[in-house]
Symmetry: C2
Subunit: 316 residues, 2 copies
Amino acid sequence: MSEKIVVGVDIGGTTIKVGICSSEGELLQTYEGPTEVEKGSEAVCNNIAQYARHIVEQSPYNWDQVEGVGIGIAGFLDIPNGIVKLSVNLHFNNVNLKAFLEDKLQKKVLVNNDANVAALGEAWAGAGRGVDNCVCYTLGTGVGGGVIVSGKIVEGFSCMAGELGHMSIVPDLEAIQCACGKMGCLETVSSATGIIRMAKDAVERGDRTSLSFVTNIMAKDVIDAAKAGDEVASRIVNRAAFYLGKSLAAVAVVLNPQRFIIGGGVSNAGDFLFDQIREVFKKVTPDIAQEGVEIVPAILGNNAGIVGAAGLIIRS
Amino acid sequence: MSEKIVVGVDIGGTTIKVGICSSEGELLQTYEGPTEVEKGSEAVCNNIAQYARHIVEQSPYNWDQVEGVGIGIAGFLDIPNGIVKLSVNLHFNNVNLKAFLEDKLQKKVLVNNDANVAALGEAWAGAGRGVDNCVCYTLGTGVGGGVIVSGKIVEGFSCMAGELGHMSIVPDLEAIQCACGKMGCLETVSSATGIIRMAKDAVERGDRTSLSFVTNIMAKDVIDAAKAGDEVASRIVNRAAFYLGKSLAAVAVVLNPQRFIIGGGVSNAGDFLFDQIREVFKKVTPDIAQEGVEIVPAILGNNAGIVGAAGLIIRS
């Protein structure tokens, strides 16, 4: 067994997930251990190094086969230098993760943000396999994104490319403020948080909806109610899909990607949601910019992070 | 003189402009001749070849120094294969321009659309010199665009990247139909045509404006009236700038380019227009995605096309 392998690391606030991938993006082994944020950033960095070594030691592969280690992390990064400028969850403040790990592991280390890395995972080895240009949306607490051009992540001038959730897309008259401080961002309406907010507003307002009998409304409750024909819930899901579709259309004329990949909890609504997004996209995108363009669900689920992190080594 | 040179060709409906550039993007010589559309596509292709040879023969350089010939042309293209699928102005229908010219000239030939090529010209040797990632808008009859990532044109899946004028940005309630058939495209409000239409609408409606004394309203008249304090004209220019600013903000979160470059006739309005665009951009773009990002005027004017066409050879 002399083929090359790559190691991907997905750093979360509670656990650090590591995986071994083949150079074609096949996920061969996974392992996870505690992050131990409370012990400080050096301990977290040591854990990353230890888990990366450990997974290879416990596998049929050996450390010499490792071509490099890729890292996905939430936070503000200096991607070229692999520095975590700020990660609130991890209490990282100007941590030179790349330098630390390259020293510890004696391998090439690349660091990128979690949304970009998940997008690369899908593009490389998931729903975008074989497609050079794709754009990924992750509909979760916020709306994350990643842009892949010619097989590589577009990072942008200050590492802010792919911040699709902060596209100002809701017209001023109906816009509300986003967590980022600006008005009308996509994630105010198309994230789980946005959907829940709109549902709670409707219930508080006294709209007649089955959601008023739900004690702790989740995005799934709203989607289920919409599927069951609840008019208020339908309007909310429709609105989330409308602005998503408009956002995809905007991206389509900027980059004309071959495929849009949509993942995250909200995307589990399936065709019910996707059909609405596709309809809006079709309506507002110039015909020649939508011809052959696909809007598909993500397929790697929670593994997108480790696969994409490993992919950094192959696709850089 | 043994340094390499590149030849750029900008094909218009009336004239074909050719230029010699240094490999650093300095425009060394220019020449132009009639397109002769009426003689048919083969005659036009022969003219291109002849003018390209001619400019070099008349220069202090020789044909052996030519590294390649780049072509910018308006129309629907198969860029990788250099085929002009349809160019209405030139009456081209599935013309394999690359193959024809490579055979005639015995040099590498690259073909791209006029808006992409103008963007590359500015990025390579104009207002974007030294900047890897920039996005260009050309405000003319329509709104053209070009996206440069890592120094290269992003072409997209069906060569439709950079169609910034067709971003659906005007909310449904105030949207009108674009020439592309869709509603609310940027160019319905931010092109010269859009500005003229809004001005004529205002005059017909009976709005009190100095524009009602202008016989054949041009975009410049509207901008001049706005600068002079005409309220109706100010509202129109403000609207054009508002949606441009919103569009730039959308692009900023997708690609986070370092610089936006705005050219074309309407951009001659200068700071009066740019300040309004910058204000909207600042208001709606997340702070970290706008930090250090510049919005600047194009500087190459009509030469952007030939310089960018030459640049195709260097930046591919």
